[in-house]
């Protein structure tokens, strides 16, 4: 009996591959939304397992705000060269130039909110009927209720009241023209599952996930990477810090945490020991400091 038991990572992997293949089988023009973060990198790895030695039945789509970490773009381009798949880039700058969105002003300006418009335009332009994303149900309460196949109307809206029952592992991808489906193959994974899988599968990651030296400023209690995209003034004091990033988004809205996690094992230890607060954003600093302290006590230095 025991030999029939799959390890939990095998089970999550098999489920995700199954879902990716359902997308391939049920839709005419799917796409995989790639942000350069660990979740979408995991999705690409799962897609390799689902479709090799064949080609992916969908392109990767990256919505480029223009404010990305250089390391993310480098990683993206190297990855595309390595796997030989098609990449479509939607530029927020184009949406700004076309007057569809207006750049935010002020100290906390970010292009984060603008990218939705670019995404929807990109979906419309290429007539994608399914977009695969790396969201997980453990992230927050609203996500806890989302389906694996989540129907969006022509405005890209999710209507929790109109969700389809999702039974067994039968996914209903039938839609009307103009609608599209967001598909979340790693819905049932937690943050720690993703990290454990990345370690097990030896998946390369952008360097910013690992501890490194960087010029930072402290803003609203968060450590932000100093960059030309951040509206800085004389009050902002630039400090050299040892940091890493837990999530990868824009330079203007992704905060760093002080960390000495240079290897994936260190990161997993860090996350596991701070597990009880992994989603309490403001708790981050507090807890990783404590984690650091604990490691120092344990003889890290």
């Amino acid at each position: 009996m025991s030999k029939y038991r799959l390890d939990y990572l095998d089970e999550l992997e098999a489920e995700a591959i199954y879902i990716l293949r359902e997308v391939a089988g049920q839709f005419e023009k799917p796409a995989l939304l790639f942000s350069g973060g660990k979740d979408s990198i995991t999705l690409v790895h799962l897609a390799l397992k689902a479709f090799r030695p064949g080609k992916f039945p969908f392109p990767l789509v990256h919505i480029d705000t223009g404010h990305n970490f250089e390391e993310t773009i480098t990683y993206r381009d190297e990855m595309i060269a390595r796997i030989g798949e098609k990449l479509i880039v939607g530029h927020v700058q184009d949406s700004i130039d076309e007057g569809k969105v207006i750049e935010q002003k002020g100290k906390n300006a970010s292009r984060n909110a603008l990218q939705t418009v670019t995404l929807l335009d990109t979906i419309a332009k290429h007539q994608f009927d399914a977009c695969i994303g790396g969201a997980r149900r453990d992230e927050e309460k609203a996500r806890a209720k989302e389906r694996i196949f989540s129907v969006r109307d022509e405005f890209g809206q999710w209507d929790p009241k109109r969700q389809r029952p999702e039974l067994w592992d039968i996914y209903n991808g039938k839609i009307h023209k103009g609608e599209n489906v967001r598909v979340f193959p790693i819905s049932n994974w937690t943050e720690l599952d993703v990290w454990n899988y990345i370690r097990r599968e030896n998946i390369p990651l952008p360097t910013i996930y690992f501890a490194h030296q960087r010029d930072c400023i402290t803003r609203n209690g968060q450590l932000m990477a100093a960059s030309p995209f951040l509206n800085m003034d004389s009050e902002d004091k630039v400090e050299r810090k040892n940091v890493r990033f837990r999530t990868v988004g824009d330079m203007t809205c992704t905060a760093a945490v002080e960390s000495y996690a240079f290897e994936i094992d260190d990161i997993i230890d860090e996350i596991a020991s701070s597990k009880i607060s992994e989603r309490g954003a403001r708790m981050d600093d507090k807890v990783s400091e404590a984690a650091m302290e604990d490691r120092k006590k344990g003889g890290y230095f």
């Binding site: 029939y4 030695p53 937690t190």
Partner: protein
Amino acid sequence: MDILKFITAGSVDDGKSTLIGRLLYDSEAILADQLEALHASNRKNDDGSIDLAILTDGLKAEREQGITIDVAYKYFETDKRKFIIADAPGHIQYTRNMVTGASNAGLAIILIDARKGVVEQTTRHSFLVSLLQIPQVVVAINKMDMVDYSETVFNKIVADYKVLAGKVGLTDNITYIPVSALKGDNIVYPSVNISWYKGDSLLHHLENVAVEVDDSSAHARLPVQWVVRPQTEALHDYRGYAGRVSSGAFRVNDKVTVLPSGFSTTISKIELFDKELEEALAGTSVTVHLQDNIDISRGDIIVNSAGQPQLSSAIEADLCWMDTRPLDTSLTYLIQHNTKTVRCKIREIVYKVNINTLEKDYDGDFKLNDIGRVIIKTAEPLAFDAYQVNKANGGAIIIDSRTNVTVGALLLREAID
């Protein structure tokens, strides 16, 4: 480590929210920020302790705002196992949500209020658990603190439940645990107040109960999802059939039959990405290669030749209706079974079940949350197993082709004619 998916059945009054809250709290699965909110909350129990129901109350508030009436998934883990709770509302109007949550569950916790004993809704929950063939059942007799932790009360409820279980056809794998979610008795920690109970705490049971495993190779099934055909010069002849083994196991050299065409051949190779496997177990997503070149496409199913499913286009099934528009027997719907979607009609409604009393009746309509027996006619034959025998190949959904919405769940039973 493995994963156990489970569902809790019981109304708010039975202490479902408190039970889930207690399970998460005592197993230290609560996030620090949520914990702070819990301690800071003004809502306390009568004895001044924190009200753990608050943990699922966020959902309730959302429900009041009309955001959702649906299943929420919660995740936690211990050193032994990972758990996914499908948290479905317990009221009768949410029968379809319980069916949704229960369809994937390996275990169901049925809550009974120790003061009230077996009540009408216990029948409903148990009927659904039995219908959906959830392999493991825990009857959690809650609020034991309110009946002085009485062994007599517990034994009486167990005896009553056994009678009900017999009626709904729940015979195996039922575990009875006296608990107090409020006080924490037998949820994570063994109770000091219930010394007469010699069994495990709820969490200990959840950690150690056998997860359903289908190791019968006679029922090996692989619905084909996708044909991998690179058609490059180097891989000119590569033709792999990708899918997830839904039950049983396939080994290299197994004799297999492809349905509905009925051609037989043998498995020549099993792959998982860059690995070659000797054997593909239930649950694994693989790519198989066959000895002979047969025309196979998505929607076909590869089965073990020695244990073949039924093949028919007229099928008796149990139906759970999930849409606000009632079933219309004059309409053509779509049925999705595994990776195959074909047109279908409901040819006949045999009966409906009153799931509170288990009486069979049919009053002329079949509407939201109704459950009953029907005969469907499909445009092409389906290769299926009875749901009771093989869940993975016995479930199907009905789609309204006007709205594209999933309107019914089918538990296939038997080929007709």
